[in-house]
Amino acid sequence: MIRPEPKAAELLWLARKQLLDECLPELPQGKRYEILLIGAAMAVAAREMEAGDRPMLEATAGLRELYGVQPAHSDERSLRQSEFPGLLDRLARDIRGGSVDGSERVYTLLRTATMALVRESNPGLLRD
């Protein structure tokens, strides 16, 4: 069965807008901080839904290229999902061990992957 529109992320954005535009002005001042937290959480959740697993899949592709790992079979998505934690651990160990100090390639991979996550948690930072 197909879910009717609107999709989950759009629902969250709509609910958030209503919360902040309609509800917040009517609530006591003491509730303001809590409502803004709720709005922030809804925004992060909506952006994460919109991004889906694209950041993880792209990071995995970058890690596989870095380590020269070839896929063993053709189920690309589930393969990347299962590979990602192991490749991430390997990169963390290699960095800590000092074998990739100052590497442009590793830096680019890290920066790209981190920016993808910042797009979800705080995209305003990337506009500076």
């Binding site: 990169l91 981190t114 920016m115 910042v118 979800e120």
Partner: protein, 342 residues
């Protein structure tokens, strides 16, 4: 606070103050403080050392803690040591380690009135008096903190650095990541840079370790108090300057490198004059990198307090989502060009 707890607190206060009668006339939670819990209490003392109406703060452990923070007893003693060094802090009055009183250790301190909210202080120029005077004053306060040196009889619980403070910090945050069981390659990149470029210091002093906008109180005239001493320890004085100037603590006023409220030059000048100690600018920049790593580790720990079920909290959950922003700053400060020489 429940009636039974109020009565218990009154009983404790009667004993420690020597009052004939104590009445807690008001109690309300104070905002902020994701790590500890603060209660504002209004107390009437009949007789004793604090006769009259007093505004106090009860500071106690939150239901779950993070590994890097001091106990209430330790914090109490740090606060007293800071006050003895003429740092502007609330007076720490009474410490209670008996769990029968309020269920967990707590202490009471003088309640100050003012604003601590960092995002408000950086935007509202009506707060804090003249900004250049405020920056100078904060530098003087920090210089006073740094006059407290080991060994100190009331602070023997603070651990001395095992190696150099910088390398100790690298090892500490690697251990934190291992204990959390998380792989954060961007933080590992920053930590490896910090390991390679660790400054050497000949001085170990008391450091606040959370001296930043958001942890001092101001009113319309200027500084009221330096707060939140739960991370204090022995370390490199430049690390406190690095934390204060770190971009993550400027609340969006990135051009005002000293705490989002003033220029780095003004802050450095006042600190140097007050401390009689020159500033190692490269070392401060190093500690700014470490500041972002440290805040990211703390944010991961805060997030874990929520995800573990120990302390379900939207605020903690959101803090736990912040590390990528801090990691991006770490990466930008430790780009490949920053690795030349060591």
């Amino acid at each position: 606070m429940q009636t039974k707890e109020l009565a218990s607190l009154e009983g404790f206060l009667r004993v420690v103050s020597g009052a004939n009668r104590v009445s807690v006339t008001g109690a309300r939670p104070l905002a902020g403080g994701a790590i500890q819990q603060n209660l504002a209490v209004d107390v009437e003392f009949e007789g004793g050392t604090h006769s009259g109406r007093q505004g106090l703060v009860v500071r106690m452990d939150a239901p779950s803690a993070i590994p890097l923070s001091l106990t209430r007893s330790q914090e109490f003693h740090v606060l007293r040591a800071a006050r003895a060094a003429s740092v502007t802090v609330p007076e720490a009055l009474w410490l209670c380690e008996d769990p029968r009183v309020l269920g967990r250790p707590f202490y009471l301190m003088q309640r100050m009135e003012g604003t601590t909210l960092g995002s408000r202080i950086v935007k509202d120029l009506a707060l804090g008096g003249d900004r250049r005077s405020l920056i100078a004053r904060l530098a003087v306060e920090l210089a006073r903190v740094h006059t407290v040196r080991p060994p100190h009889p009331q602070l023997d619980f603070l651990e001395m650095p095992v190696h150099q403070p910088a390398l100790d910090a690298v090892l500490r945050y690697r251990r934190c990541l291992d204990d959390l069981g998380v792989s954060r390659p961007a933080l590992e990149w920053g930590l490896r840079w910090c390991e390679r470029f660790a400054p050497v210091t000949s001085e170990v002093v008391l450091i606040h370790q959370d001296f930043r906008t958001g942890n001092y109180m101001v009113d319309g005239d200027g500084l009221v108090s330096i707060l939140d001493w739960e991370f204090a320890g022995w370390g490199d004085p430049m690390s406190d300057l690095g934390w204060f100037c770190a971009r993550c603590w400027r609340f969006g006023r990135d051009e005002l490198e000293a705490g989002g409220i003033g220029s780095r030059e003004d802050f450095y000048r006042s600190y140097t004059d007050a401390a009689g100690r020159s500033i190692d600018e490269a070392s401060v920049r190093y500690w700014e990198v470490m500041a972002h790593i440290r805040w990211a580790v703390i944010a991961l720990q805060q997030g874990r307090r929520h995800t573990s079920g120990e302390e379900p909290s939207l605020e903690l959950a959101l803090i736990g989502r912040r590390p990528p922003e801090l990691e991006l700053e770490v990466l930008q400060m430790t780009a490949p060009g920053a690795w030349a020489g060591s």
